[in-house]
Every structure is written in structure tokens, then in C-alpha cells.
Amino acid sequence: MGPDGAPGPTVPWRKVLWERQPFPDNYVDQRFLEELRRNEGIRQYCYWAVVKEAGIVGQQLSCVAIFITLWLYMEQGLLPPETLLWISLASALLGYGLHQALTSHDESCSEPHTHLADLQSATIFLSFTFGFSPVFKTLTESVSTDTVYAMSAVMLLAHLVSFPYAQPSPPGSLSLNAALFASVCLASRLPGTLHTFAMLSCALLVFALWPCLLQRLRENASRQFTGVCVGVCIAGVGGLGSQSPGGAVLLALALGCVTLLCPLLLVMLQRHKDNIHGPWDEAEIDEDISRFLH
């Protein structure tokens, strides 16, 4: 059976190297394939569970769509900035209350800094943004509008790609920064200083605070989480539909693709998974190899 066609001797072959045997070095006997194992530790996915998990991707996509919709409204002057500020304030308070309510279930008073520190952070956000909004207003004045749009698109895409979907609560630096960069670019195209301020506050709400609340929802109220995701998706499609029906159709297609088609593909293609493990020495590098690179 050996690859080199060794003669069948009387001595049985043993898988040891320290003993001299009448076999070539690359000889293996019939027991070799008996130890073959396939698809070890595989998890069988259920379609609806995957769809539910994919909902967070869809809702993030919709969040970006909602943000763009708001910006479109602001740019055309359909939405006065005061209204947006009031809506933002109301939703922020609502969200904060909800966040507190969901937190108090398990770890109620483990973090004593909460209220004062949150107020402080909010003050910093607001004062900083308000102070700098004239600067943001004139920042991209000389830059071509197309450039600004392209930059915003690239940055929003980077936000979507690098968003930590598994654990959105401490927002990933790159995703949050990219989203904020894009929102600054977009906000600088708005007609007034207050518009810019309102837009940036809204961006803070959508990109920084909303994922925190979403994480709480997913942890503590998973049933409502699905509903929230569906609601956000519908709001996103609907909002975009009021401004550009083509965009809404595209968004709906993308959402359908991400939340329904992709899980279906995953589940269907799982049959073809064929991962073999065996008695051979497979090089498994689990050490930190970065130290060899220097």
C-alpha cells in the first residue's frame, strides 16, 4: 500500500520514528484513512435564526439611509433645523431612558459615574459642535461638491464595512470616525450654521449612540430587537422613498439581499462544506507570529 511499493514484510508497521523499520519513510498502512474526520464541530444553521441575526446589518444600512434622507431634507430646506434639533433631543432623552431601563435589569449600580458623566459628555459634544459649526460650514467651501459627495460616499461605505456587527456597543473607532467624517463633509454643504449643528448632532445620535442602545436591546430584549430592526428598515426605505423612489427601490433590494437572500445562500451552501481533519500533521499556527516579522 505504501507509495513506493514496499514489499510486504512480516513485521507489522508502527507509526514511530525512533525505531528502524523495513519500510520507506513515507510509508503508511491501511489504518491511515480510518482516522479521517469530516466537518468537525460544525453548527447547523437554521434559516430564520440567520435572518434574525442578519437584521442588524440591514438596520445599519437603513440607518445610513435615514441619515442621508434627513440630510436631503435639510439641504432642500424642507426640514427646519430647529425641528430636527427638537426631534433629536426628544429621541435622545427617550433613548437614554430606555437605555437606563434596560441596564437596570442586571447591573443597576455597578457604574456610579453614569448620570453626571453622561451629562458632561453631552455638554462637551454640544458645546464643541456648536462652537465649531461655523468652521465646519466654511471648511469645504473651496472643495468641489462632487469631491465632497465622493468622499462622503467612500467614508459611509467604510463605516458600513468596518462596523462591529457582532458587538456594536463600544463603537469601533474606524467605523465611527469614518461616519463622522462623512457627516462633517455632508454637513458643510448645508445652507446655514444651525443646519450644520443640527446635522452633526443627528449624526452623533445615529452613529454613536444608537448602536449602544441597539446592543442593550439585543442583550436584554431579543424579541423586541427583531421588531426594532424591521421598523428601522421600513423607516429607512420609506424615508428614502419620499425623496427618491429609485434609491428606495435599490435600498429595498439591498435589504432583501442582505437579510433574506444571503442567509438562504449560507444555509443552502452549507451542504457543500467539506472540511477534513486527519492523522497527518497539519501546520496549525496558533501562536502570535507577529514577533517573527520584526
Partner: protein, 596 residues
């Protein structure tokens, strides 16, 4: 073995006598320094040699005998052989020359009087050279090579590379050639014995053409003593003034270290201190250093006086002053136009209009201030130039340094612009680089000197990103201002650098050494070359030793007076990196201008 005899050319036709010289230890060679003629009393010769040995520090001895029979004089063979018993030596050279023949005949006697070598054997040196036979069969015989040297040149020349003062005993002894040069140079006292002196001994060697000619030199030497004293006294007063406490206060001290005139003054003081030191120069290097400094100083002063004579003739000073103010005015006007251009859309670039206007107005205000300053100064410019021109009598270097300082003062506005631009740009670059790390969720670990990942708070991320956006969009405007002003600054720095370079050139160029190399090439020797003098069969090989003069580039390299420009400075890459990062560059550290 081959015995080398270094024989002075001046002794070629000397009367018969004793050969005085030195055996070079470790090498099989002898240096003949002089011939003491008959008749002599052996005791006097011995005493004379001891005396000379004490004076010169060279292990002098009687090497052998020299005979050049004249007409009617013969039969000295036995007498010469007997001499070797009077002056007991390990080896006794018996060199003779016959009238009409060019070659010498040499016999070597060992201590016991046995003749080691016959004259006929000398021939074998050349034969062996021709046939290429090995030393094997003639190993027991000694051959003699005569190397003729010019005693005066060898005595005066300095073999390079020069040795440092203290010779390390552990290292290998100096080479044969170096020892030979040293021997000849050190036995100067031997050559003082004049041919026409009425002493008990008569000898032949090199001697100066006449010591009377050097009376003028001696007089000059005497005259330098009070001069040195005067200069020392003046220097002490000057040092005392410099050390007054008021000059060591911060602003004055700082200013004086930056003004190139002050720097030049301190160098000149240092040079004068070296020149006026009452101790005579020890060793060749120090002597050359002093001479170089003196010649550079004299040339410098001569050039300075030439400049002065031009300046004060035909009222050139006022002409200069009258052109200087309009030129400065014109520069300011040009700058103003440049700023106006920058405030628009320079080269089609789109700048941040608000920041552009702010920066442009800021700089315009500066130029306004500057023009008023120039107009305030204009009545005094002529006076300043007139009195500044007087400094040329101290040397051209002073005038150049003063010019450099004046250029620095007149372009102070450019310097100010440059500093503002560079500081702003530097701030932006550093801010952007650290915020870019924040943007990617990294931070700089100071302890480990590397970039680590870091989880930032929400507010840190928010504010950091907003600042990053602001800095990024404002960077082109700042960078353009920085670029334009850096180019202006570089032009000024280049001009100042050329001035500094020429000052430095005058200060450090070894004029004396170069002059010596041109007029007396043998004084600075790099090595020697040999040429065959005569190949007469039956006599020893005669070689003529000539001195190879030092190469001009080596002269400059060896004798350059070390000055501040010799310190290591930034490479081009480091300079470009500095410019890119926005660090300030200065001419007075000689960082940008020295082009090798």
C-alpha cells in the same frame, strides 16, 4: 643580506677621512652624515662625536673610512685598516673611490678585522638582478647598495603622514626611511661646523650658504618679541572686556553667539592668542599651524584693506546706502504682491478662503510694520555702512561677516514669516499624525516606542474626528504658505551660507603649506623614489634618492585649520525630512549651506 648605505651627495668629492653617521637599528643600513678629514687626533674625534651626540640626541658613531686619493697620494690601505682598531665598531665600512671612476668600492670588515667582503663581490648585486638567481648560494656574502641623497633637502623635509608627538613604545618602530629622515633632521648641530673654521677638525657635509644672510631673519625674530607682548596685552584687555558680567546675560550672550561677526571675532581672538603665545612652536604640526594662521591673517587683512580702499574712494558708501533702502523697499513690495497672489487662488489651487484671508492679512500687517521700520532706519543706513566698512581693516572676513549679519537683519521679516509658517505647519502635521492614529483606533505608546491599539471613549473619538477633519481640510492652505516662505528663507540662507563658506575658506585654508608645496616641494615629502645612478661593472649599485612631494589635495586636507564648519552637520536627507516636518532651519548652525 643587502647593506644599504645612505650617502650624502655633497661628500662625493670630499677628501679622505672618517665617515661619521649612524647605524639604523633593526635594519641593515647605515646613514653617512659627514666626513672628517685627515689629519685628526682620534681622541678629539671621539670627544667631538660625543658632544654632537649629546646635542642632537642621535646615536652617532664612526662608520668607517673614506678615501679619495689625489695625485701623488697613495698607499693608505694599511693605514685605513688600522683605523678600525682605533675606533672599535661591529662593522667597519671601508669606502674608496678612484679618480676617473664614478662608482665606489666598498669593503666591510667585521670586528675582528677579518675582511668579510671583497670588492669584486659587489658586482654580483647587479648580476643577480639580471639573472634572477636566488640568494641561496650567496647567502653568506653581503652586498652593498649606495643610496645617494641630498642632505639639505632630506634635512629640511618632513615625511608624511606626520607622527603624533608621543610615540607608543608598544607599536612597531618607525620605518627605515622615517628613521633615516629623522636622523638627518636631528643631526643639525653636526652641520654647524664650518668648512672655514679654524678648529682642530675639518669635515665635509652640507652647510648653509652663509649665515650672514639670516641676520635679517634674526632681527625680525628679535622684533617679534615685543610685538607678541603687545598683542598679548591687548588680548588680555579684550578678554577682560568680553568677560564683563553684562555680556553673559541671556539676551546679549544669545545674540553674540548668533551674530557671525561676533563668532568671527572670537575665532580671530583665538588665532591671535595662538600666534602671540611666547612659547616657540613645538613640532612640525604646530609650526605649520601657526604659519598657516599667520599667512591667512595677513592675506585677510590685505584683502580687507583693498576692500576698504575701494569703499572709501569715490564715495561708494553713500551710493551703496542709497541703493540699499530702495532694494529693501522693493523686496517688501514684492512680498506684498506675493501675499496678494496667495490670498486669491494661487496657481489655481483652491484654498480655504477664511483661513487664507486671515493668514494673508496677518502677514500683510507684518510687511506694513517692516516698511515703516525700514523708513525709520533709512537716515542711519549710511552711517552704519560707513562705520561698518571700517571693520574691513580687521580683515575681509569681518566685512563679510558683517554683510551676512546685515542681510540677516534686513531680511528679518522673511525669517518671521518663515517661523510663523513653519510653526503652524509643524503643529498641523503633528496634530494630523496623532489624530490619524486616533482615526484608526490606535495610539502611540511612549514607553515601548510603537503604535498600539487602544479603545477610545465616545467623546474622545467624536472630538478627535472633528478636529481631524478640520486640520485635514485646512492643511493645504497652511502648507502652501509654509512652502512659499520656506523657499524665500532658503534663498536667504543660501546667500548667508555662501558668505559663511567664503569666510570659513579664508579662515581655514592652509595658504602657507600650499605656498611651501609650490616653492619648496621637498619640504613636504610623501615618500621617495629611486633612480639608478650608475651601473658600472665591478662596483656597487648606486641609487639616487629623490623626494616625492606631497599631493596638493593632501596638503589642504592635512593642514586645514579646524574651524566650526568641520563639525558634522545634517545630511541632505535629514534636511529634507526637517523641511517636510516643519522644523526650523538655521544658517548659523551650518546645516543647510555647506555643500561638499
Amino acid at each position: 643580506m643587502v647593506l644599504k648605505v645612505f650617502f650624502p651627495q655633497c661628500c662625493n668629492r670630499a677628501d679622505s677621512g672618517l665617515l661619521v653617521g649612524r647605524w639604523i637599528t633593526g635594519h641593515d643600513s647605515a646613514v653617512v652624515l659627514a666626513v672628517i678629514h685627515y689629519p685628526f687626533i682620534p681622541g678629539q674625534v671621539k670627544r667631538y662625536i660625543q658632544q654632537m651626540q649629546a646635542q642632537s640626541g642621535v646615536e652617532l658613531s664612526v662608520l668607517g673610512s673614506w678615501s679619495l686619493p689625489k695625485e701623488g697620494q697613495e698607499g693608505m690601505e694599511s693605514f685605513l685598516r688600522d683605523l678600525s682598531t682605533i675606533f672599535p665598531q661591529e662593522r667597519w665600512l671601508q669606502i674608496s673611490r678612484e679618480i676617473g671612476k664614478t662608482g665606489f668600492i666598498c669593503e666591510i670588515m667585521s670586528q675582528n678585522g677579518k675582511k668579510v667582503q671583497q670588492e669584486a663581490k659587489n658586482k654580483s648585486v647587479e648580476e643577480e638582478k639580471d639573472t634572477g638567481l636566488g640568494d641561496g648560494e650567496k647567502e653568506d656574502e653581503e652586498k652593498v647598495i649606495f643610496v645617494h641623497y641630498e642632505q639639505r633637502k632630506v634635512m629640511l623635509s618632513q615625511l608624511h603622514p606626520t607622527e603624533t608627538g608621543d610615540h607608543d613604545p608598544k607599536s612597531e618602530p618607525p620605518s627605515e626611511l622615517r628613521q633615516m629622515f629623522q636622523t638627518v633632521a636631528q643631526s643639525k648641530p653636526l652641520f654647524f661646523l664650518d668648512k672655514y673654521d679654524d678648529g682642530p677638525l675639518k669635515s665635509t657635509h652640507w652647510q648653509s650658504e652663509g649665515r650672514e644672510a639670516s641676520i635679517i631673519v634674526e632681527l625680525l625674530k628679535q622684533a617679534t618679541v615685543p610685538l607678541c607682548l603687545l598683542v598679548t596685552w591687548l588680548l588680555s584687555i579684550w578678554t577682560w572686556i568680553c568677560n564683563i558680567k553684562i555680556f553673559s546675560f541671556w539676551p546679549l550672550h544669545f545674540l553674540s553667539s548668533k551674530l557671525s561677526t561676533c563668532v568671527q571675532l572670537s575665532y580671530r581672538t583665538e588665532h591671535m592668542r595662538i600666534l602671540s603665545s611666547p612659547k616657540p612652536a613645538v613640532g612640525h604640526t604646530q609650526f605649520m599651524r601657526k604659519a598657516n594662521i599667520l599667512v591667512s591673517f595677513l592675506v585677510d587683512v590685505a584683502l580687507g584693506i583693498l576692500l576698504m580702499s575701494w569703499l572709501y574712494r569715490d564715495n561708494h558708501v553713500s551710493v551703496l546706502a542709497n541703493t540699499l533702502v530702495p532694494v529693501a523697499d522693493h523686496v517688501a513690495k514684492e512680498l506684498e504682491e506675493l501675499l496678494q497672489w496667495l490670498m486669491g487662488a494661487p496657481a489655481g489651487l483652491k484654498m480655504n478662503r477664511a483661513l487664507d484671508q486671515v493668514l494673508g492679512r496677518f502677514f500683510l500687517y507684518h510687511i506694513h510694520l517692516w516698511i515703516s521700520y525700514i523708513h525709520l532706519m533709512s537716515p542711519f543706513i549710511e552711517g552704519i555702512l560707513w562705520y561698518g566698512g571700517l571693520s574691513a581693516c580687521l580683515g575681509l572676513t569681518f566685512a563679510l561677516s558683517l554683510l551676512s549679519d546685515m542681510v540677516a537683519l534686513l531680511t528679518f521679516h522673511i525669517y518671521c514669516f518663515y517661523v510663523y509658517g513653519a510653526r503652524l505647519y509643524c503643529l498641523k502635521i503633528y496634530g494630523l499624525s496623532s489624530l490619524w492614529r486616533l482615526f484608526r483606533g490606535k495610539k502611540w505608546n511612549v514607553l515601548r516606542q510603537r503604535v498600539d491599539s487602544c479603545s477610545y471613549d465616545l467623546d474622545q473619538l467624536f472630538i478627535g474626528t472633528l478636529l481631524f477633519t478640520i486640520l485635514l481640510f485646512l492643511l493645504p492652505t497652511t502648507a502652501l504658505y509654509y512652502l512659499v516662505f520656506t523657499l524665500l528663507r532658503l534663498v536667504v540662507v543660501l546667500f548667508q551660507g555662501i558668505l559663511h563658506l567664503s569666510v570659513d575658506f579664508i579662515n581655514s585654508f592652509p595658504l602657507f603649506a600650499l605656498g611651501l608645496r609650490i616653492c619648496r616641494p621637498y619640504r613636504l615629502a610623501e615618500g621617495v623614489k629611486f633612480s639608478v645612478l650608475c651601473e658600472e661593472p665591478g662596483t656597487a649599485l648606486h641609487l639616487l634618492m629623490e623626494i616625492n612631494p606631497l599631493k596638493g589635495s593632501t596638503v589642504v586636507q592635512t593642514y586645514r585649520t579646524p574651524t566650526y564648519s568641520c563639525y558634522p552637520r545634517d545630511s541632505w536627507a535629514a534636511l529634507i525630512k526637517k523641511l517636510f516636518v516643519g522644523e526650523l532651519i538655521y544658517p548659523w548652525r551650518h546645516k543647510t549651506t555647506k555643500t561638499d
